[in-house]
């Protein structure tokens, strides 16, 4: 058996946990929407559990992503700004780091509104579907921005690596 040496740092773990929590939070938002569209007395508990899952996941994404952003992102920012895709920071990271707060607030709101009896209240059902839908839309936009930022680092490294090879 060949052992593959790995070098996974806390920085990598935090970044992947941030993205993983974010995707799971979005999926929980979709789960809430689907359950709310078919709201009955029998699935009221599941709706509330899914709403809490969305909130917990977004809180996890906030903490992991926040720690990573404050402690590890500055080095990547320098790379991005010196590379061919400076807009990956100037536009995408700037929007992402502030748009995330909107998703986070909506995720914290979701368990509050999901306490209503959705199967008996059309307005509450509409509100829960709206909040969950906004979490999904803004969450997916944030995930997409994360991919652009990652690519901004990649193209910067590829370019500097290419220069080294030519020398």
């Amino acid at each position: 058996m060949t052992l593959i040496p790995t070098a996974i740092s806390i920085c990598d773990v935090l970044l992947l946990a941030h993205a993983g929590f974010g995707v799971t939070g979005c999926l929980a938002g979709v789960w809430v929407m689907v359950e709310a569209l078919n709201a009955r007395a029998e699935n009221a508990g599941r709706i509330r559990a899914a709403a809490w899952l969305a909130a917990a996941c977004m809180a996890g994404a906030w903490i992991c992503g926040g720690y990573w952003y404050v402690h590890f992102y500055p080095a990547e920012k320098i790379l991005i700004l010196a590379g061919p895709w400076p807009f990956a920071h100037n536009v995408f990271m700037e929007v992402k780091e502030h748009l995330f707060f909107i998703t986070g607030i909506l995720a914290l709101l979701l368990p509050v509104v999901a306490r209503e009896n959705l199967y008996a209240n059309a307005i509450a059902r509409r509100l829960v579907i709206c909040v969950a839908g906004l979490i999904v839309v803004t969450g997916l936009a944030i995930e997409g921005a994360g991919a652009v930022i990652d690519h901004g680092v990649k193209v910067a490294l590829l370019r500097s690596n290419g220069k080294e090879h030519r020398q």
Binding site: A41, W62, G66, Y69, V70, N90, V91, E94, V95, E97, H98, L99, F101, I102, G104, I105, L106, L108, L109, V112, V113, R115, E116, N117, Y119, A120, N121, A122, I123, A124, R126, L127, C130, V131, L134, T138, A141
Partner: protein, 109 residues
């Protein structure tokens, strides 16, 4: 008549109304604070001095505004009398304006 079986109940609890309105105000506050600290460096420096990073302070400020306004609005009669149906539109419009405000600001700034 049992509301649970008719599915015709309307209205929302005071907490739902209060925290939904608080979320709508908080997302707009979030965008306004983003603009302000980006345009006015001393504000960003002040926010950095509070927690070590402006982003950390920004997030905490959003949480305080959301929780604080949520509690206040829940206890406010005028909010309790708000048309529940309008809250969905208010929240959606606030999120759309706040998100678009961030994209436009950082795209052209």
């Amino acid at each position: 008549m049992n509301i649970a079986t008719t599915g015709k109940a309307s209205g929302l609890t005071a907490a739902t109304k209060g925290f939904t309105l608080a979320a709508a105000v908080t997302v707009l506050f979030n965008t306004a604070l983003s603009w302000a600290k980006d345009a006015y460096a001393p504000l960003q420096d002040f926010m950095k001095s509070l927690t070590g990073h402006h982003w950390t302070t920004h997030g905490l400020a959003d949480l305080v505004v959301f929780a604080g306004l949520g509690i206040v609005f829940t206890r406010t009669k005028a909010v309790g009398m708000m048309d529940a149906g309008r809250l969905v539109g208010v929240l959606t419009a606030s999120v759309a304006v706040a998100a678009l405000g961030l994209v436009v600001w950082f795209a052209i700034h």
